[in-house]
């Protein structure tokens, strides 16, 4: 049995510039952020990124690593518009294949099933057809004769996903309410890398959790990374919530300043920098609260 554990930097060392990279999660939910941070530390660029986009897309866009993006959206959920993605689009920084959420899903299914495409009732009549002139339609061969979009397979060279638990062989488990599409990303990629909150013994996986929590099978996984808090600042239920305060900081800080403070060192450096920021932030919040309280008392006294 192959032990597939590795570090985030070892994962990234297996990638090359120009590859197509799938990224699991959804919006600002369970994104493989520790792996994204490792990618940002590397020189890898010119990527085709396939993602239900969140800050993964925002950071890669801000750092100029994307040649082409395939996505139905990019959002931070509680902050509807991803600011770095937005800025990059407005300066025409990369090519975009903008498809609908369902088209995207069927593209993953097609890739996972080694099909060239799957028919989907979505896109027709919308400008998704105008902005993707390469999209083709297909007519039902049965008597209904309906026309569908033939959504091409979203095959990827590599995929990154973040899960709650995994064993050393690559069996990955989600413990939150939504699997998102992480199993499909792994099946649709030539090589998939799973980061997780904690690596456990195989027997441990189903000791307390139901078997259907075993989302990702080791036969689809090339590497496993233990990355506690590795989805930070996105959510990773039930291990951690989205760090809303830090996400706000990410969204409101100029990228060079953010990258300099949080992304110039290792993953441990990142987690320490976030901790230091949190202490400062809480202090200033408390300070602000005290000031507001004093002001209120003064006002009431007057």
């Amino acid at each position: 049995m192959t032990d597939k554990t590795m570090t985030p930097d070892e994962v990234v060392a297996r990638l090359e510039s120009g590859m197509t990279l799938g990224i699991g999660g959804w919006g600002s939910r369970r994104k493989p952020m520790a792996l994204m941070r490792a990618l940002l530390r590397s020189g890898i660029t010119d990527l085709t990124v396939v993602s239900y986009g969140g800050p993964d897309v925002g950071m890669l866009a801000a750092a100029g690593r994307i040649r082409k993006l395939v996505a139905p959206f990019a959002t931070l959920d509680s902050i509807p518009l991803e600011p770095h993605y937005r800025a990059a689009r407005e300066r025409g920084a990369f090519e975009l294949t903008e498809v609908d959420e369902a088209m995207f899903m069927w593209g993953l299914h097609a890739a996972a099933n080694r099909l060239p495409f799957l028919p989907v009732r979505a896109g027709i009549g919308s400008d998704v057809m105008r902005v993707n002139p390469g999209l083709r339609t297909v007519r039902s061969p049965y008597e209904d004769g309906e026309t569908f979009v033939a959504m091409p397979a979203l095959r990827m060279d590599a995929a990154f996903v973040h899960l709650n638990r995994a064993d050393r062989l690559g069996n990955g488990q989600y413990l939150g309410p939504d699997p998102y599409f992480d199993d499909l990303f792994c099946e649709a990629a030539d090589r998939a890398y799973v980061s997780c909150e904690r690596i456990v013994d195989t027997a441990e996986l189903t000791k307390e959790a139901a078997p259907q929590t075993l989302l990702v099978g080791r036969h689809t996984v090339a590497g496993v990374v233990e990355a506690p808090n590795g989805a930070h600042f996105t959510s990773c239920a039930p291990d951690h919530r989205r760090d809303e305060a830090f996400q706000k900081h990410y969204a409101s800080t100029p990228w060079p300043e953010f990258a300099e403070r949080f992304l110039s060192g290792s993953e441990q450096d990142y987690q320490r920098a976030v901790q230091a920021w949190r202490e400062e932030h809480e202090e200033s919040e408390e300070h602000g609260d005290r000031k507001a309280h004093e002001k209120k008392q003064k006002k009431e006294g007057a």
């Binding site: 996505a71 990019a74 369902a102 009732r121 919308s126 400008d127 105008r130």
Partner: protein
């Protein structure tokens, strides 16, 4: 009980979208549609399904009753057992909707969310829209990027469009539908306190206005109690749509030209 606010008429107008819908998912986007969906569920549409905004189907008190992760949600969309009320950054006379970007798509002046699920929604389940600030910036002659498909576009694809339906558009000024011969937008009811001129001024295309124009209906005493005490006790609806009576005068949405 104090006077009914504009936001509360909007809640009623949104809730009415789900009247008679049966055992389907109500998917409201935005605060007032959410209050409306839950109001419908608690009163005249008790079979509606609601989500917690994540992956669970929940009763109005939050008790989970089912599992609806994104992959199953998308199947529910294509299966048609859902009526979604989406937002719109732009909407035109035939109900084409845009939430992707403003300006040229290749290099937008303003990048917005992206098409999201609007293309699949509009071809598969009833899709209504909620627009909290009715203006010429939103109600435009032509949208910059068609995300949600309107009646003129779908007419070109009759087979693919067999499940297409836009039951209503609710704004802070009134309720609109497409019950006209060419399926263009019609004013279906005015919220109390709003004039037809106000709506025309704030709309960037010609609207059909029926002679017998109804007012959006009054909430019942019980509905008002549910809205104020149970569903939105903090009154956040009043921030989404401020009441013209309490903000001192001319309703926002009037006299605001396209250049705002």
């Amino acid at each position: 009980m104090t006077a009914v606010t504009r936001a509360e008429y909007c809640v009623i107008a949104c809730a009415e979208a789900w009247r008679g819908a049966g055992e389907i998912l109500a998917s409201p986007m935005g605060l007032i549609p959410s209050v409306g969906a839950r109001l419908a569920r608690l009163t005249f549409a008790p079979d509606l399904l609601l989500t917690d905004g994540e992956a669970m189907l929940v009763r109005p008190d939050g008790t989970p009753e089912g599992w609806l992760p994104y992959r199953r949600h998308l199947t529910l969309v294509t299966g048609g057992r859902r009526h979604v009320m989406m937002g719109a950054s732009q909407i035109d006379r035939y109900g084409n909707q845009n939430i992707s970007c403003v300006g040229d798509w290749a290099r937008p002046r303003r990048q917005l969310l992206g098409v999201r699920g609007a293309p699949v929604n509009t071809l598969n389940n009833p899709t209504s829209y909620w627009i909290p600030r009715h203006s010429r910036r939103v109600f435009v002659e032509k949208v910059d990027m068609v995300c949600g498909v309107g009646y003129d576009r779908v007419a070109e694809h009759p087979g693919t469009g067999r499940f297409h339906r836009i039951p209503r558009v609710v704004s802070d000024l009134g309720v609109f539908d497409f019950a006209t011969p060419d399926r263009s937008m019609r004013l279906a009811s005015l919220h109390p306190g709003v004039t037809v001129e106000q709506v025309r001024d704030a709309t960037g295309f010609g609207l059909t206005v029926p002679e017998d124009l109804p007012r959006t209906r009054e909430p019942s005493t019980e509905e008002l109690r549910l809205i104020r005490e149970v569903l939105d006790p903090k009154g956040t609806r009043e921030r989404e749509v401020p009441d013209p009576a309490s903000t001192g005068g001319v309703g926002r949405g009037t006299g605001q030209g396209a250049g705002r």
